[in-house]
Assembly symmetry: C3
Homo-oligomer: 361 residues x 3
Amino acid sequence: MTNNALPQAQLSDKHFQGNFFEDFELDDLIRHATPRTITEGDVSLYTALTGSRFVLYCATTVANACGFARTPVDNFLVFHIAFGKTVPDISLNAVANLGYAECQFESPCFVGDTLSVESKVIGLKENSNGKTGIVYVHSVAKNQHNDIVVSWKRWVMVRKKVASAPTGIDSLPNLASTVTITSQLIPQTLDFAQFDNASSGSNHRYHDYQVGEWINHVDGMTINPSDHSLATRLYQNNAKVHFDAYAMKSARHGQPLVYGGHIMSICRALSHNGLANGLWLAAINGGSHTAPSFAGDTIYCVSQIMDKGELPDRTDLGWIRVKTFGVKNLTLQQISDFIDDQTLWDEHKVLELDYTLLCPK
Amino acid sequence: MTNNALPQAQLSDKHFQGNFFEDFELDDLIRHATPRTITEGDVSLYTALTGSRFVLYCATTVANACGFARTPVDNFLVFHIAFGKTVPDISLNAVANLGYAECQFESPCFVGDTLSVESKVIGLKENSNGKTGIVYVHSVAKNQHNDIVVSWKRWVMVRKKVASAPTGIDSLPNLASTVTITSQLIPQTLDFAQFDNASSGSNHRYHDYQVGEWINHVDGMTINPSDHSLATRLYQNNAKVHFDAYAMKSARHGQPLVYGGHIMSICRALSHNGLANGLWLAAINGGSHTAPSFAGDTIYCVSQIMDKGELPDRTDLGWIRVKTFGVKNLTLQQISDFIDDQTLWDEHKVLELDYTLLCPK
Amino acid sequence: MTNNALPQAQLSDKHFQGNFFEDFELDDLIRHATPRTITEGDVSLYTALTGSRFVLYCATTVANACGFARTPVDNFLVFHIAFGKTVPDISLNAVANLGYAECQFESPCFVGDTLSVESKVIGLKENSNGKTGIVYVHSVAKNQHNDIVVSWKRWVMVRKKVASAPTGIDSLPNLASTVTITSQLIPQTLDFAQFDNASSGSNHRYHDYQVGEWINHVDGMTINPSDHSLATRLYQNNAKVHFDAYAMKSARHGQPLVYGGHIMSICRALSHNGLANGLWLAAINGGSHTAPSFAGDTIYCVSQIMDKGELPDRTDLGWIRVKTFGVKNLTLQQISDFIDDQTLWDEHKVLELDYTLLCPK
C-alpha cells in the first residue's frame, strides 16, 4: 500500500462508543478493564500535580511511627485510580456526574498493590424528557489479596441511544447521607499515639476542632492546561470532555472540562493549611461538582466542621466530618466575604465535598 | 568577580554543536552517551503523558498471568528512551527525520534495566543541492546483561557544514519493508493461554481481525505545551526544535515542533479503543511523520490491518500487522469521511506507522 | 445542611499566614514540617522537568563504576526538596529571596532516604523603611540515620506585621564567600578512577578546564506553565507567588513567578553541553536571582570557570568552581555578544550561580 492509497474496505465496529441508558439493567455486574498496580511513580506524580503535604503519605519515618510497615498511598489517589476504571463502562456518555455517596476506605493501599474494580447497577431512573436517564452504581475496588480497598456509590445522567416517550423506569437505591465510622474503617495497624505535631507543622488535633467552625484555607492554586490532563491520564480516566479540545470547541463551554476529581484533590491539598492533622481519609459521605472548572481557573477553598466523634477503645484518634467548598477566581477578601454572600457563593462555587477524616487526639 | 564584571577571556569550544553530514563515514560505530536505567517513575510518567491503557503494562497480576515474573515496560517507552540517546550524535542538525525501518524488540525490558545504545552508519547519500545529505544508521540498544533489547534503522536529512558542489557520495543500505516475525521476537516466557479478555475490556482477539479491515479509534487527545516537552525531556532527547520557543519564533513554523515519537505514543494509546488486545509490540516496520504537530493540536487516528499470521508451535498467539494513521484537528464526521477523501487526508495526516503486534488467539 | 445554606459561625484562625519579621528571634531553632522520603518517581520527574543528562544520576551501571552501591539522587533535586521544607516557616511572606551561601552536600542521598530539615535564625536586620527586614537562616537537612545531607545559609527580605519606626535590630552573620572543598564533601565511596568518557559523551576532564575560561552552553529551554508549577509542587514549596495566577494578576508582574530553583536546575541541565563531566555537585558558594522569570520565557546560560583545585590523596578527581549565568530571551548571536555588552547583560540576566563540581581527572 502506498502512502496515499485510499482504503477500500469498510470500517469495522471494533471501537467502543460507551454504554447508553438502555444498555444498563438493574443488578448488572460490570467487571471493569485495566487492573492497575500503583507505584512510587504514581505517588510522586500526585505530589507534583497537587502539591499535597499530608505527612503520613510523604515520609516513611512518619508512616512507621503511625503503625504502618510501609508508607500508605493517599486515599484520594487510590479513589481517582479506582474511579478511572469505571469511566469507560459507566460514564463515557454521561451528560453529568451528579453525585457520590457512601465512599468508604476499608483497607490501606501500598505501592505494589494492584486494584481491580467492579460495579453493580443499583438504580435506574429515566428522565421525563425521554432523552436521558440516571444510572446509579455501587463500585468496589479490591487489591490482589481480594480485600476491599474502597467502595462507593455514584449516579450519573447518561444519554439514551434513542430518544422516546419515557418508559417509566424508576428504581431508586437507598443512599445513606453519611458513612458511619466504625473500627472497620480504621486501618488495622494504625496508631496515632506516637504522632508528633512537628511532623505536620500543626498543633490542632481532634479536640481543637468544634462542630460548626469554619476554616478559610487561604491559599490558591491555578490549574494549568497540562496539570489536569496529566492527572486525568494518570488515572486512565478516558472521558473525552477532559482531553479533546478540538471537539470541545463546539460544545457548550467551548473548551475541555477539568476532571472533577482533580478539583477534589486540589481542595484537599489546599486544606492542609488548617487541617494538617486530618491525616487519614476514612470516607467520602457525598460530593457534587456544582460548576465546571477550566484550565486557567484558580481554586480556593473553605471548610466547615460538620460533626465529630470518638470510637470505643481508641484513645489515639477521633473522627471529624468536614465539608469543603471549592470556589474559583475570588480575591482573598471575597473568599472571606463569600461565606455570608449568597451571590458570590452561587457564582464561584465549584465543589462541595463532605468527608470524614481520622485525626490524632 | 563582581556581579556586573565583564569577562575578558575568550569563549571555549567545549560545547558541542552536533555532527554535520561531512562528520559521518560509512561503517562508523558511534557509542552514544548517557546510558539510562528505567524506573517505575518513567512508567508512571508515560501513563500520565499518553493515557495508555494496554493492560500488560498496567498490572502485575496480568503480567504474571502472561508469563512475566515482573511487569514489562511498554516497548514504545523503551523505544523513545533508546532513540533519545542517538539524538545528540545523529540528528541534532537534522533538517528532517525521514523514516524508520526494521525496528525489532528482541528482549523485554523491566524496571531496573539499564539501556546502552550504539549506532553504525550504514548509508550516506548527498543531496543534489550540495547543502544537505541523508545519513542512514542502524542503532542497537542493549541491557546490562548485553542482551539486545531493541534495534532499528532510521534515516535523517542532515545539514552539511559547508555547502559545496555535490561530491557524489551515494551509498544506500538495504532496508526490509517489514520485519519477519520469528520466535526470536517473542519474549521467552510470554504465554497468552491464560489471558482474560475482561482484563483488557475487549473480546476481539487474533481471529477477529481481517486483513484490510479499518478501525476508527474515535477518541481524540489534545497536546498541551508541557505534555510534549515533559515527554521529550524524559526521553533525554535534546533536539532544540522541541524546546526553544524563542529561537523557533523565527523558524519556518514559528513555534516548537512536537517530538514525532510523542505522536506515535498518543496514537498507540488512542488505538486501545479497537485494538486493546494488540498487547505486545514486536516490531515497527516503518514510520514517517508526514507533517509536523504543535502544542494545541488534537490528534486522532485510524488503523488498517495490513497482514496477519501464525507461528509454528504457538497456539496462544498470532501476529497482526497494523498501519495506524495519525490525523489532527478533524471532527468525528470528518474522521469517518477522510478515509475516502484525498484532500482531507493530505491536509490533516501527521503520522503513518506500520507495526506488528502479538495478539492472544 | 443544604447546598445553599449560609454559614453562621465565625471563621477559625487555624490557617497559617506565615511568619513576619517580628516573629523571628536570633538563635531560634525551627523544625520544619513534612519530612520527605525521596523516591524513583521524584527522580524521573526531575528528568522530565529539566531534561538533565548528567550520567551519574541516570544509570546504575555508571553509578556502580563510580563506587556507589546504588544510583545517587542529583544534589540539585535534593536541595530543592530540602529547601521546599523551609518555605512555610521562613519565606511565605518574603518580598524577595536575596541570596544563598555556604551550601554544602555532606552525604549522598539515595532513593528511599527521608529528609528532615531544621533552620536556625543566624541574623536579623531591620530595613530603614520600617516595613521590612532581612532574616538570615542556617538550614540543615538530615537523613533517617541523622547524617547531614545538605546544609546552607540563605537570607530573605520579609514583611513586618506592623510598619513602625525602625527598632535598630541589626545583627549580621558571618558568611563565607566560597565553601572550602575538603574530603568531607566527597562521598566516602566515590571513585572516578574507572570513569569512562563515553558514558557522558565528553572528553573534557579536570585538566582541560582553565580558570577564566568561558563556556557558552548554546542550548535553550522554554518554560511552559505546567513545567514550573509541577516542579515547585513536587518540592512541596508552597509560596503563593508561584501558584496563584488570579492573585498575581494584581501584583507587580501580573503573573506567577517561576521558582528560582527551577531556573537553577534548567541552567544546570543546559550546562551539560560543555560541562558534562562536572558530575558531582559538592557545594553552592552563592546564588542570586537577578530578575524574575515567567512562563513562556526561554532560558539560556553561559559559565565561567572561577577556580579549580586538587585534593591530597585524590588522583581520581579535582574540583572546579563554576559561575553560571542564566539569561532569557536572547538570540544565539546575542548570547555570544552579551558577555561583552553590559546592556544585554543587565536586561536579560536572571541568575548568577556560583558552585563547585567534582570532576574526573
